[in-house]
Symmetry: C3
Subunit: 242 residues, 3 copies
């Protein structure tokens, strides 16, 4: 299975062209569209989102990950192996948390090059063909050389910020549920927010935090949109009160 994690959007040409390359390179492999609206051009919040969602997929999954503001510059392309999954994408911190949380990991600098490489769309021209080749069984070492990825040691293990606003207006943080006691209070954008088990535990219109189905601390409003009610956006700071 190939899983797409990108900031490409779905309606325009980017995801479609990537899917066409995957279809031509690895026709028998199912492709799952996970995120097409990862934080645009922001590898740091995207890295916390990716680490939380990637672990839900089975061993052997190949994740094609593109949040790539440096496309066209000298940044490298990586293959990363972590906890039994393979990741393909830019060396810009996107895999920092996946790698840090894995018991063991390996990385390679992609040396394979396509006949034509555009300056602005490595997702289509470089990363998708490499992901397709891995999916049909080629080994990382045939496409890439062992490498140490760029490190981001100053990034925390859990990020006390909003990293994603979902379709319902719920605000996902970069905090894992296991990092907070249920008694913890949070404050976001000046609003105190207490814990609840789920939506139906609080009155309509009330804000609360809970641990979502992928293990992240999420801020929501029952029958409402947390992003509008609390004025939240990707990057909004979260304070842990207790």
């Amino acid at each position: 299975m190939i899983v797409l994690f990108t900031d490409f959007g779905l309606a325009g040409p980017y995801t479609g062209q990537v899917n066409a390359v995957l279809q031509e390179t690895a026709p028998a492999v199912p492709v799952i569209q996970l995120f097409a609206d990862a934080p645009p051009g922001q590898p740091k919040p995207a890295a916390y989102l990716l680490a939380a969602y990637a672990q839900w997929f089975p061993q052997g999954t190949i994740l094609l990950c593109v949040v790539d503001p440096g496309v066209g510059s000298a940044r490298r392309g990586l293959i990363a192996e972590a906890a039994g999954r393979l990741y393909v994408g830019p060396d810009n911190g996107l895999f920092e948390l996946v790698l840090r949380r894995a018991a063991s990991s390996r990385c390679w600098d992609i040396s394979w090059r396509p006949p034509t490489l555009s300056a602005s769309f490595h997702g289509r021209d470089l990363f998708a063909p490499v992901a397709g080749r891995l999916a049909r069984g080629e080994l990382p070492a045939t496409l890439a050389s062992p490498a140490v990825p760029r490190g981001y040691p100053d990034w925390p293990d859990d990020l006390a910020e909003i990293v994603y606003i979902d379709h319902y207006g719920n605000a996902l943080t970069g905090l894992r549920g296991e990092s907070l006691p249920p008694s913890a209070g949070l404050a976001v954008a000046g609003h105190p927010v207490a814990h609840a088990e789920t939506f139906s535990s609080v009155p309509s219109g009330a804000a609360f935090w809970y641990v979502n189905s992928n293990g992240l601390v999420e801020i929501a409003v029952n029958s409402g949109r947390a992003d509008r009610t609390l004025s939240l956006a990707v990057g909004s700071e979260v304070k842990i009160l207790a």
Copy 2:
């Protein structure tokens, strides 16, 4: 064929995770994404939309339907068989019109449980695995117990409200075309709207109603957006003038 009817959105993780579960559970079965933007958290308008669109699909189709504001509460999960199609989703009125319009129907309360059931994402953890099992040939009775669904007898047979705004700004009502004579005038948000056969029958910028390609009364503006021109939203009342 499995058909998805949800309020999950497409760009974020919800539809992708559901597709991954279906792929693992019933790999050979094609999945069609019908609606990912059903009225969020509003089973009543969604029920009229679903009933109009489900009938277009062939007998034997399995419809995975999730508009589920009560997720995490005690509401049941249903399998419904109506007019030769199977429906899987919450017992909250979403299947009320499908069931009411079917010559014969049966319902089951889902007793199957996954190893892990999140409080907030039964679409992924409960309904998708059940839909996948039905798609690969398991019988409802192996996954669920016969049950009478919650009834909504006060809901009308046709709903004189806007139930969906489409990508072009056209406003779909919960009225079937067969419930109105072509001579009927409508009023929405204070604007009178007359019948026309199709877009090219009226001048550019003019509002009209017509019976859309799935049998619903739809309000549109030729070369314009009815939602903006007439200030319409899901829930806007429609008056039948004659």
Copy 3:
């Protein structure tokens, strides 16, 4: 491979119903969703976008193209063969640039009719079944009669307008990169815009133009949205200064 180029949107029912028809008609053929947000109801800018993106696909690709404000009127349905690819869609100019740029081409007027043809959704009822039949090997001549498409001789070879705003806010023009020297300056909405090789060549927040990965002149802002920074929309005029 069948490629979809439409203004249908993805979240609502239109793309889903088209996919269901293709699945039933040509089950073994992969379908790639390229554009679902082509300029709504505007065949002219859509024609320049289509011509630029279609050429990226391999010979033998079938492109199902629907930007169709005249649906329900007397406009014809076409099959066009150009440069080894087949196109199916309305005879409204959408294929004008594809045909004009092809060394050789042929066109047919679709005579095949479905058992039921709605007035408002020929994409589902007419064009998708025809595309599916072509994909499974039926010949154009079995579905259509040779015809000369409507011509648009006053449309220029390159269109100095914005034809698409992408997910990142980048503004694609209808100008091919080969039509401009790299020294050319542009002006859009009163703003002068100079050439750069790629995003990382200019400071954060700066606007520039470059030739995108499909050969079109595109206006972008490094780490920003060109549409908002420069107030651009589909139809905004582009002036070539030198």
